[in-house]
């Protein structure tokens, strides 16, 4: 216990991130189950309005701030030093501060459940002035802001650490143009975090000043402006979307290349597209504000459309990597195929809603819920499972069962599409986001019924995954250093690696050191 509380080694900290994000994932998934149970039938009374508002707020907050984003950063913590041949991260103590700020911040958000008046209930976006009202949401909303303020500071610290590590701690021969794509995507993510998270910390601090110290930043009666909150929040919020996707692009790239037995196609294109996406994503924030009538819609529509180009480059390069390869459909590979199939739908609907005339109908409806779940759920979450199956043997020294894994994939893929595809049509039928009840009009009852059944299937798939983990850990069958015939440096050391990663550093003369042997 003390050993874990005081650990500074990047692998221990990486495991702390992975375990805590998976724990938050279980909680957030159960909350999703509650949402789908409530919406399974029209005019359902399983949850009342206040309970439902807390449930969807905590579900969104946890999945975004406590699962998808920190898992990518946590996995980077574990893998980046291994992939570039470094013994540890540049600042091990800073790294430990980061993980504890993250875990304490996440627990603080959930501590709101015990507060008088319940947990935060203003949505993961917490728009002011709604989030500044005290009735109904008292200390719970404060704890939400305090917790996420700690999480954002943690993310900034870890990003600095990752950048310095990537720039200055590479092993002899590991030039920048040889580091694996996953590490490159993490570098782009870290730059993005440094640009986008300070406004978030600022806006949360402003809300806390308003709530406790008599400020009026967002109150028009005192010369404040609610639009200011939206600007600051989305200046962070859109880049956050890419903080939740770039690491997973990297994961997919590594897994696809490994199981196609081919080096990554278009390495330079992959790197440039990662930075192009990061750069462009800093100039699109107000596409979340098209319906406010307070922003330049054409500017933000144009820059948003441009992101489709580097994203398209990634798809071309993944297909180019598989082209004429020797593809093995392992569980990890299946999850990456699922990522591509789902993410493509999320990307295409994303270009649609970047067009303001379409967004005027789609904004704040279930069409949007469908869109972002296809990118972050069908995309990032599938890559997350792919990463777990791929790197589990390296990290924990035991392998997950492939047959059970393929069942997990099948259940999650079928369940995911059954849950979220109907939502595109719910939006067009007039169902708004964040409603705790809806009337039995149009096809809403049928569509919601299908979605809730799909969620049940996803629940079974997720449970199967955790059974798989427990079984693998109890079986304790040791694995060789390179069970998948991977090409990057981490596969050239023991599973799990020794304390300082490599007893003897292998020669690095290309982008595929493990295949050079």
């Amino acid at each position: 216990m003390i050993e874990w509380l005081t650990a500074t080694n990047h692998k221990k900290i990486g495991i702390l991130y992975i375990v805590s994000t998976l724990a938050f994932f279980v909680v957030a998934s159960l909350l999703a189950g509650l949402i789908r149970a409530q919406l399974a039938r029209p005019e359902n009374t399983l949850l009342d309005a206040h309970q439902y508002n807390q449930v969807f707020t905590l579900h969104g907050t946890a999945m975004i701030f406590l699962v998808i984003a920190p898992f990518g950063i946590g996995l980077a913590n574990y893998l980046v030093p291994l992939q570039i041949g470094a013994p540890d991260m540049a600042f091990p103590r800073l790294n430990a501060i980061g993980v504890w700020l993250f875990i304490l911040g996440g627990l603080t958000v959930f501590a709101g459940l015990a507060a008088y008046g319940g947990a935060a209930a203003a949505g993961w976006t917490a728009y002011a002035p709604l989030s500044e009202l005290t009735e109904g949401t008292g200390a719970g909303q404060d704890l939400w802001f305090v917790g996420l303020l700690l999480v954002s500071v943690s993310t900034i610290l870890t990003s600095i650490n990752l950048l310095v590590t990537i720039f200055l701690f590479r092993a002899p021969g590991m030039t920048m143009w040889r580091i694996p794509i996953f590490t490159w995507e993490i570098a782009a993510t870290a730059v993005l975090v440094l640009m986008a998270f300070p406004p978030l910390a600022a806006v949360f601090a402003m809300v806390l000043i308003d709530r406790h110290l008599g400020g009026h930043f967002f109150d028009p009666a005192y010369g404040g402006n609610p639009i200011l909150y939206q600007h600051l929040f989305w200046f962070f919020g859109h880049p956050e979307v890419y903080v939740m996707i770039l690491p997973y692009f990297g994961i997919v790239t590594e897994i696809v290349a490994t199981f196609s037995r081919k080096p990554v196609f278009g390495y330079v294109g992959m790197v440039l597209s990662a930075f192009a996406i990061a750069g462009l994503s800093l100039g699109v924030w107000a596409h979340h504000m098209f319906t406010t009538g307070a922003v330049s819609n054409p500017f933000f529509a144009a820059v948003s459309f441009l992101i489709a180009i580097p994203t398209g480059v990634k798809f071309v390069n993944w297909i180019g990597t598989m082209w004429k390869g020797s593809i093995e459909l392992s569980t990890a590979m299946l999850f990456c195929i699922g990522f591509m199939l789902n993410f493509l739908i999320g990307g295409i609907t994303g270009v649609m809603i970047a067009s303001p005339p379409i967004d005027y109908a789609a904004h704040d409806t279930y069409f949007i819920v469908q869109h972002f779940h296809y990118t972050i759920g069908g995309g990032s979450m599938f890559a997350l499972f792919g990463a777990l199956f791929f790197w589990f043997p390296k990290i924990f020294g035991v392998r997950l069962d492939e047959r059970m894994g393929k069942w997990t994939f099948a259940l999650l893929f079928a369940g995911f599409n059954a849950t979220f595809l109907p939502m595109a049509f719910m939006g067009l039928e007039g169902m708004a986001r964040r409603v705790y009840t809806y009337p039995p009009i149009g096809h809403l009852a049928l569509l919601n019924g299908i979605a809730s059944f799909g969620a049940l299937v996803m629940g079974v798939g997720t449970a199967l995954f955790f059974i798989n983990v427990v079984a693998a850990v109890r079986r304790r069958v040791p694995v060789p250093p390179n069970p998948w015939d991977g090409y990057s440096l981490e596969w050239l050391t023991a599973s799990p690696p020794p304390e300082f990663n490599f007893h003897e550093l292998p020669p690095i003369r290309s982008r595929i050191p493990a295949w050079d042997r």
């Binding site: 050993e3 509380l5 005081t6 650990a7 500074t8 080694n9 041949g85 470094a86 013994p87 540890d88 091990p92 103590r93 430990a96 501060i97 504890w100 700020l101 304490l104 911040g105 603080t108 404060d142 305090v146 700690l150 500071v153 720039f167 200055l168 701690f169 590479r170 092993a171 002899p172 021969g173 590991m174 030039t175 920048m176 440094l194 640009m195 806390l208 406790h212 639009i227 600007h231 600051l232 200046f235 930075f275 750069g279 800093l282 100039g283 107000a286 307070a294 922003v295 330049s296 054409p298 500017f299 820059v303 304390e499 300082f500 990663n501 490599f502 003897e504 550093l505 020669p507 003369r509």
Partner: protein, 128 residues
Amino acid sequence: MKTFVGLFAASALFGIALAVAYWFVAHEEATGAALLGCMAAALVFTAGYAVVAERSADLDGDDPNEPLERVAGEELGIFTTRSAWPILVASCSLLTLAGTLWSPALAVAAGIALILCCWRLGAESARV
């Protein structure tokens, strides 16, 4: 070629271009222009740091044929494996923040503890 210097220089140029473009396309809108301006300034600052760091650093990784004599691990410096201060720094940060909202006494006490912990952490990291 020091790739990361080029990378930051390019991002800084892009940030400036984006801020200028925004200013002309949506010039009545001051909030976004200010945000993009700050972002561009931050990118210029990091690019400047990258230039300075590149001059002073002697990187093993940047030579494609670097010999392996300087093996990583212990050679790169000794890394600490455990420290009690980080978790205390994180806990004190939480308590200081919570105290600021609900209890000035807690804020002062936790704030002092936070400074102490940071100081001890700094002293410890100077040794190992």
